[in-house]
């Protein structure tokens, strides 16, 4: 019997520590499949972040560094500049990338750093128990917006793909999601492109993946997927925001 489907080589055997129904697991798998398919497992260096993705160094079976909160793009810059022939990626959540790490991501993009950023946006701080994120949508209830996010109190959600695509230094920016099989296939294609560009020596490349957080949103996984479609897609439209390779 020929084995035609199995674990990606670039994932370790360690079981994911994510909550049931969380889509981080799908995204980890897609990144690992892409690393396998592009044959870059032995040259890849990943940079984890702080939040639910903090243990990514245990799950990806490639060389990994863990960065302090928000600073993964700076750590990745240090690694890539020191070892330009390696393929360097970060895996960051929305609290990490769009709040405390805003300066680092903006300037990594402005410098056209030849790195790949996987940006998981689930509109909430999951690891710390469900506080408002910079990407929390208007009206969304969280631990720190118990009456719902309002323009008066907390202002508007931050749209990172739109912001970063406005910088001359960004090369490829796409927003995807993983809440249906068709979307998963599109997400994988985007992630592959974001790594392919780096292999070709082009930067800066980012894929924003809209993700669910059933635990902190307080709903079952399937309902969370519907909630994402109804509440996040209108605020964070999917699509390619920048693709210099297709000019």
């Amino acid at each position: 019997m020929e084995k035609i489907f199995g674990m990606p080589k670039s994932l370790t055997a360690k079981p994911f520590s994510f909550c049931a129904g969380c889509t981080h697991g799908i995204i980890h798998r897609l990144v690992a499949e892409v690393i396998d398919e592009l044959g870059i497992k032995e040259s890849a260096i990943g940079v984890g972040s702080v939040g639910c993705s903090v243990f990514s160094y245990e799950f990806f079976d490639v060389d990994m560094a863990s960065a302090s909160h928000g600073r993964a793009p700076a750590v990745a810059t240090g690694i890539k500049r020191a070892r330009p022939n390696n393929i360097v990626f970060t895996y960051q959540g929305d609290g990490d990338l769009a709040a405390i790490g805003t300066a680092e991501i903006v300037h990594a993009a402005a410098r056209s750093e030849k790195i790949t950023v996987i940006f998981v946006n689930n509109a909430i701080y999951g690891m710390t128990g469900g506080q408002m994120a910079p990407t929390t949508v208007l009206g969304q209830k969280t631990e720190t917006t118990p009456y719902g996010r309002t323009v008066e109190n907390q202002g508007y959600p931050v749209k990172m793909s739109e912001m970063l695509s406005a910088l001359d230094g960004s090369n490829f920016i796409e927003r995807v999601t993983v809440v249906t099989p068709a979307y998963v296939n599109k997400a994988k294609a985007a992630i592959k492109k974001a790594f392919q560009y780096q292999i070709e020596g082009k930067g800066f490349n980012l894929v924003e993946v809209l993700s669910t957080c059933p635990s902190c949103w307080g709903m079952p996984p399937l309902k969370a997927m519907d909630w994402l479609k109804e509440n996040m897609l209108p605020v964070f439209p999917l699509g390619v925001y920048k693709d210099n390779g297709n000019k």
Binding site: D63, A67, R71, A74, K80, R81, R83, H107
Partner: protein, 348 residues
Amino acid sequence: MGEKILMKGNEAIGEAAISAGCRCFFGYPITPQSELPAFLAKKMPLVGGVFLQAESEIAAINMVYGAASAGVRVMTSSSSPGISLKQEGISYIAGAELPVLICNVQRAGPGLGTIQPSQSDYFQAVKGGGHGDYRLIVLSPSSVQEVIDLIRLGFDLADKYKTPAMFLAEGMLGQLMEPVDLGDYKPNIPDKPWALTGCKGREKNIVTSLWIDPEELERHNLELQKKYAKIKENEQRWEEFKFDDEAEYLIVAHGTMARIAKSAVIKAREEGIKTGLIRPISLWPYPEKAFANLKNIKKILVVEMSMGQMVEDVRLSVNGRVPVEFFGRAGGMFPTVNQILGKLREIK
């Protein structure tokens, strides 16, 4: 012995770093160390190295973390307020056991303070400015020649012990121009099998300061303490000046302050106050061995360009055997030879 060349302190840092095999520099502009990044921006590309001006001190220290993880010799430089911003990153670097060199060309604080030289970051440097139980190797130069020597030593010790080292100078040394001998030093760079280079032909490597299990984290801390004990035993450095059998009084001063203190020792001897000097070169580990024999010493005077920080380590080293007095100036002012003499006469 090579030919002596004239060099400014800040440029000497850069020259020494390159000769030590440092090929990555990440920094953010701040006075009074601006000549150093300007020097490295010119020199690094010529030796195939990386010079990158970061968007912030925080980004710079995290780029340093990244480059050190990747196994190269890397340095950052700043001055006091900027070093405060780097503290979180330094704690992570210590936790992840990465060899890096951090230069602090100190200015006076607190807050924005002023750009004049100071020694008021002593506590922050030697007691651990960031969170957690960690230590930095801290080296204090007092001449431009020693800038060269201690930058090289800093890189070598950082690699030897897999730990961050800090080069702690005062603003005036950065601006001082003196003849130096570059000698025929060869950097001692060990293999780094732990570095992130891509996992070809081996298991993956991980660089992290996260140990979520308290028992594992305690074990990690105990390992760090073992390493620090070894450094404390092996790496105490100091200079003695006229600390001979005749000496009855002892001045303790480090860095550029020790140059003024040396003049005060000479003047004091001329007027019959038999004085000697201990100049700590390693501030951590503190050279407590220098204080082993104090049997002829009546009093110790600690002189600092601060309101009294190193004096605490002198008191710990002396442990009550001899009274320890203090004289210091703050805010970018420095104690003069006459002021030190006056204090000696007063405590005599």
